[in-house]
């Protein structure tokens, strides 16, 4: 049992408590019995996963632990092979990515891509297309927020990798998500951008639920109040942030993964 301080919600009990899942069930995003395999290899096998408004939930683990698959399943980019996903009390397992995005589940990508042929500003406009009541002001503000104001009218393809990541974040925020899924937002960022990212994450509205997949432990530490550790697609450990970070098995896992990650990537 821990106490956590979030703007909108005073006290959230542990997610191991069934009552909590019930609460997230009405207002947040809940997945139960998720199972995903690729060519007979289990990628993800998770009995339950829930996030309620205001949660800052990090998912960590070595490469291939199923973190991105979890995000893809939640966002609808990949269809769940088995399991049920509910959002605000409604079953959305069979809904596509676009429907979920319009319903308020926004995301960024591990490998951020832009729209070829569009300017930076237009990319953000595309992100907020379904909130057209506030036309150009919001996209411009978002660009200011991520530090890309100067690039607004340049083709998005001219951005550097780090800038693309910041743009991806702005695009996701333009959709005004209630649940924001961040897939390694800090990877490949310069120190300046990293600072900016931490600032932005710190100012996200309190009602927003955030799931963060990240290797960068500083970012995890700065943002998350709850951490799930995945290993070989299964839950290795789950608990309050400081508790998990202190766990010795997590540290070895993570160190292993950093090395394994280097070896695995070409």
């Amino acid at each position: 049992m821990t106490t956590r301080h979030v703007d909108a919600v005073d006290h959230i009990p542990s997610r191991r408590d069934p009552a909590d899942i019930g609460r997230a069930h009405d207002t947040g995003l809940v997945a139960t019995g998720l199972y995903h395999a690729h060519q007979r290899l289990t990628v993800l096998d998770l009995d339950s996963f829930a996030i309620a408004p205001g949660d800052r939930h990090a998912v960590i683990g070595p490469n291939g632990a199923g973190k991105s698959t979890l995000l893809n399943l939640l966002a609808g980019s990949t269809r769940a092979q088995t399991g049920t996903i509910t959002y605000q009390g409604q079953t959305i397992t069979r809904r596509g990515a676009a429907w979920r995005a319009r319903a308020g589940i926004g995301r960024t990508f591990q490998h951020p891509t832009v729209y070829p042929g569009l300017t930076v500003l237009d990319c953000v406009r595309m992100g907020g297309w379904h909130h057209r009541r506030n036309p150009d002001r919001v996209p411009l503000e978002l660009l200011e927020l991520v530090g890309l104001t100067g690039h607004a009218d340049y083709p998005a393809t001219t951005l550097s990798h780090g800038h693309r990541r910041m743009l991806d974040l702005a695009v996701a925020l333009a959709g005004q998500p209630r649940v924001l899924l961040l897939d390694e937002p800090a990877a490949g960022l310069t120190d300046t951008d990293l600072t900016r990212l931490l600032d932005i994450l710190g100012t996200l509205p309190g009602w927003m639920a955030v799931i963060l997949v990240e290797h960068h432990m500083d970012v995890v530490a700065a943002l998350a109040d709850w951490i799930t550790v995945l290993h070989h697609g299964r839950r290795h450990l789950d608990g309050p942030a400081d508790h998990v970070r202190a766990d010795p098995t997590v540290r070895t896992l993570h160190l292993d993964s950093a090395e394994a990650g280097h070896a695995a990537r070409p």
């Binding site: 966002a75 609808g76 980019s77 596509g96 990515a97 676009a98 429907w99 995005a101 319009r102 926004g106 995301r107 990508f109 891509t113 832009v114 729209y115 070829p116 042929g117 569009l118 237009d122 990319c123 406009r125 595309m126 992100g127 297309w129 379904h130 991806d168 695009v171 996701a172 333009a174 959709g175």
Partner: protein
């Protein structure tokens, strides 16, 4: 590159309308100043030009290379033919009915096609093209069998007006329909330019931002079906006959290749290229009977090497070059080689 089509608020904007008036002017000149051969021949090229516009829309705007637009083309054509043969000869009725039939057909096929991409679409649409001819051949009560239909009654522009039979009015009418339909296509594409470019360029990101990609593509495919249907009506109005072979693979291939030569992102370029292709096949090759395929093949090969990106890209490069030359205002004369070719 996309042509812009805003309303002419200023004199400067009027210049944007010039490209659309050019074909109309050319058609009028042709109708006024030549013998009967040219109006009839050019008018017969326009249905394929409009079909190429439809193909370029699906291939360019939706990013789905297709041979299947002959299906809505066939639907439009046979709807028009059957209406005319049943005694309903009003051209506006034909165009509307054909556009609806085309949109309906493309809508049905789109449900299958737009879920796929790239070469799979190409091959699926190849099957669509072949099955369209086969169906037309087999459905003899509609198509009249392999020899097709002939002597289809000419349309009337309005009730009480004489039938559109003479070559020159037919040319003017066909040009007007082609230009209007192409302009409408461009207007719609321009209005949704941002969405379409985004969806085509990065489907995953677009879906993650709440854009129903498949629905967008289906709408484009269906809309292009209406254009293809209109082209089918135009086929009946300019030819007044049709055979199942006219709505098969050969037509589909010519339309797709015209779209490639024109520059896949430019429907007007596709229309111009279609006229060019038929010009080579039916006009230039007429004095070398038996070798039309050779000339057509040479045109395709030449287009690949000499016009990378198609006519539209060549035009853009030409403009850029002119602008560059103007900007530098070089005093020295042009090199001899370029003078000879210009």
């Amino acid at each position: 590159m996309t042509a812009r089509l805003p309303l002419p608020h200023r004199w400067d904007d009027l210049r944007r309308w010039v490209p659309w008036l050019l074909p109309l002017g050319a058609a009028t000149t042709l109708a006024a100043a030549s013998d009967g051969y040219w109006p009839a021949t050019v008018a017969r090229m326009l249905p394929l030009a409009l079909l190429a516009v439809s193909v370029a829309t699906v291939t360019g705007a939706a990013g789905l290379p297709t041979l299947g637009q002959v299906a809505p083309y066939a639907a439009g054509a046979y709807t028009t033919a059957r209406l005319a043969m049943a005694g309903h000869t009003l051209a506006p009725v034909h165009l509307t009915a054909a556009a609806l039939a085309g949109a309906f057909t493309a809508g049905l096929l789109g449900m299958l096609l737009v879920r796929h991409r790239g070469t799979v679409v190409l091959m699926l649409s190849l099957a669509v093209a072949e099955l369209t001819t086969i169906t037309a051949t087999q459905w003899r009560t509609v198509s009249g069998g392999t020899d097709g239909l002939a002597g289809i009654p000419a349309p009337h522009l309005l009730p009480g007006t004489p039938p559109l039979t003479a070559d020159r009015p037919v040319l003017l009418y066909a040009t007007a329909v082609t230009v209007a339909a192409t302009a409408a296509t461009m207007l719609l594409l321009h209005r949704h330019h941002l969405l379409l470019t985004a969806v085509r360029g990065n489907e995953t990101r677009a879906a993650a931002s709440g854009h129903p990609v498949t629905t967008y593509l289906w709408l484009v495919h269906t809309g292009a079906g209406a254009i293809a249907g209109t082209a089918g009506a135009l086929l009946i109005h300019t030819h007044r006959w049709i055979t199942p072979a006219d709505v098969g693979f050969d037509t589909a291939a010519l339309a797709l290749l015209a779209a490639v030569i024109g520059g896949t992102h430019s429907p007007p370029g596709a229309a111009v290229a279609a006229v060019l292709v038929l010009g080579v096949r039916d006009v230039a090759a007429a004095d070398w009977p038996g070798h039309a395929p050779l000339l057509l093949g040479a045109l395709f090969v030449a287009a690949v090497y000499l016009l990378p990106g198609g006519l539209t890209a060549a035009l853009t490069r030409l403009r850029a070059e002119i602008r560059r030359v103007r900007a530098t205002r070089r005093p020295e004369p042009l090199p001899a080689a370029s003078r000879r070719t210009s």
